[in-house]
Symmetry: C2
Subunit: 328 residues, 2 copies
């Protein structure tokens, strides 16, 4: 028997979830819900209905876990608690500063409905969080560092696109190699924002736009760029399409810390990801989390959880005995 | 209120557990049990009794979790099931081929006694296993590789010491850099034993010993060395003490795999450890696992578990709300 998964929304992340489901034989995609006209959407999975979000309640007994493909800014704060009244849900809420509030809202809704809701799944928050927590628990006398990239930041790319005269843009976040090395050496450096990452921008101008103006607007943009060493390249639309159409990402979580009665031993724990496609990988994490949510729900659990609450074995399609025999 | 931890044995690993407890304010060392004369042992923690193992049963209501410092060859297969009749226990059983059998034995004993027993904690099995399982769950279409080192293998050092004419020895296991690079590139190479690791031996000869004989005995030793490119250095006892007295270790778990509907995206997940002291780090993992076992036991759970069954948050001294606010 397969686990029946539905997806709400059909953007990049939802398509990542869809492809992950297609590679996991124990998971089955049973429906995609959309705010758009369902007829305008063609799934890549054959024979799966696209349904108006208005009819989602009618599906509450036909779906084991609903994966939400929405965004953290406006979609998920509303959708996750609302949909948890009918479904076990998984979201990728990634506004770190608001996770505690989102957790409380979703927890209340899910507990009331007797559903399990997993929030903030993905790789950061997600796999990176797991590594921060494990490493902090093992090396309490230590310090952790998270670096992102090299990868495309959608938020920063969007910010550039809003500047007058910009036709299109892609922004890469890049960890500073010397900062990574300093961290790995165990010297516990204090690193400023500028010392940790650089930002590289590829910008297509509209006809007649003022390049100097655009470059200055980017480099002085508060929050997004002004605290970073930023490089701006003006390129053609063809070049952007040819060389910068992907959504690669990745990064590093490094904890250095001491062990020994007199803290005499140094240790470095490093976790890194290198991803050709951020949404496809994030979708794969969400699919594995949906499996775990299904199992928690079958145990009679309810309420909001995060990946920090999931026994690792619950994410795997393999049985406990298989895992012990082959992966432990 | 602290969690009352006891340790059985007082070798390198037990001292690692002791030092980890000293750095975790929520954990308290309440006793060390030994097969030796208790008076011959001086703990590094003040005011903690050293007790004969013969009296261990009398402590069953004064200890929340007993951490076993014994070895996998002969100690743990007997001790873990036996001690699980009186205590929640944690061991570091690391003979991969026998884990399933050990699990079944310990599970029967722990279930009968209503205790929680965690086996095979440490870094491999342990943290490396976690990373193999998470990565396998997220990237089912992929392949994982584990490399060990650079680090001291106690088993291989012991094997050299048993050769006639050898006074002392230290053996380092070293991953082959080109193999690591090939794996990271995502080409899924087939690697032989010889292609993955080299072995470097530092040997102190007894007076008048035959160096050529010793070197040949090492390099042709089945299972231990004959399948590897092995280098042998003869050094003085002073040099061994000065430069090779530590027990550093570490290694890499790398999974490469594809995502995307047509498996069009490559991904690399890499986890690595660099440890000045293998037993001190392993002891730190066992201490964090003892915390998790205490929590499982308080929930009324019983039976054998591994680190794959522990919600990550259970290993941390921080509350769920703290973890969500600061580490998620």
């Amino acid at each position: 028997m397969t686990i029946r998964i539905a997806i709400s929304g059909y953007g990049n992340l939802s398509r990542g979830v869809e492809s992950a489901i297609s590679h996991n034989p124990d998971l089955e995609l049973v429906a995609v819900f959309t705010r758009r006209n369902p007829e305008s959407i063609t799934l890549r999975t054959p024979n799966v209905p696209v349904v108006s979000i208005d009819q989602i309640e009618q599906w509450k007994d036909r779906v084991d876990v609903l994966v939400l493909g929405g965004g953290s800014a406006t979609d998920l704060p509303v959708q996750t608690p609302e949909l948890a009244q009918w479904f076990n849900v998984v979201d990728s809420f990634d506004t770190h500063a608001n996770i505690s509030k989102h957790f409380d809202n979703v927890d209340a809704a899910a507990k009331k409905a007797g559903k399990v809701a997993l929030i903030s799944a993905g790789w950061d928050p997600g796999m990176f969080s797991l590594n921060r927590v494990y490493s902090d628990a093992i090396l309490p006398d230590g310090r952790d560092y998270t670096f992102w990239g090299k990868g495309v930041s959608q938020g920063h790319s969007d910010a550039i696109r809003r500047i007058k005269g910009v036709k299109d843009a892609r922004q890469y976040t890049i960890p500073v190699p010397s900062a990574l090395e300093a961290v790995r050496s165990g010297t516990n450096p204090e690193l400023t924002t500028r010392q940790k990452h650089t930002r590289e921008c590829f910008v297509v101008l509209e006809d007649g736009a003022d390049a100097a103006y655009v470059e200055n607007q980017i480099k002085t943009m508060p929050n997004y760029f002004s605290d970073y060493d930023t490089t701006v390249h003006f390129i053609s639309e063809d070049e952007l399409k040819k060389n910068h159409s992907g959504l690669p990402h990745g990064g590093f979580v490094i904890r250095t810390g001491t062990t020994g009665m007199d803290s005499e031993f140094k240790n470095v724990i490093e976790y890194s990801l290198k991803l050709d496609s951020n949404p496809a990988f994030t979708g794969s994490v969400l699919a594995a989390c949906a499996r775990a949510v299904y199992r928690l729900s079958n145990e009679g659990k309810s309420g909001c959880v995060t990946i920090l609450d999931l026994p690792p074995a619950y994410l795997s399609a393999k049985s406990g005995a298989e895992l012990r025999a082959h992966l432990l």
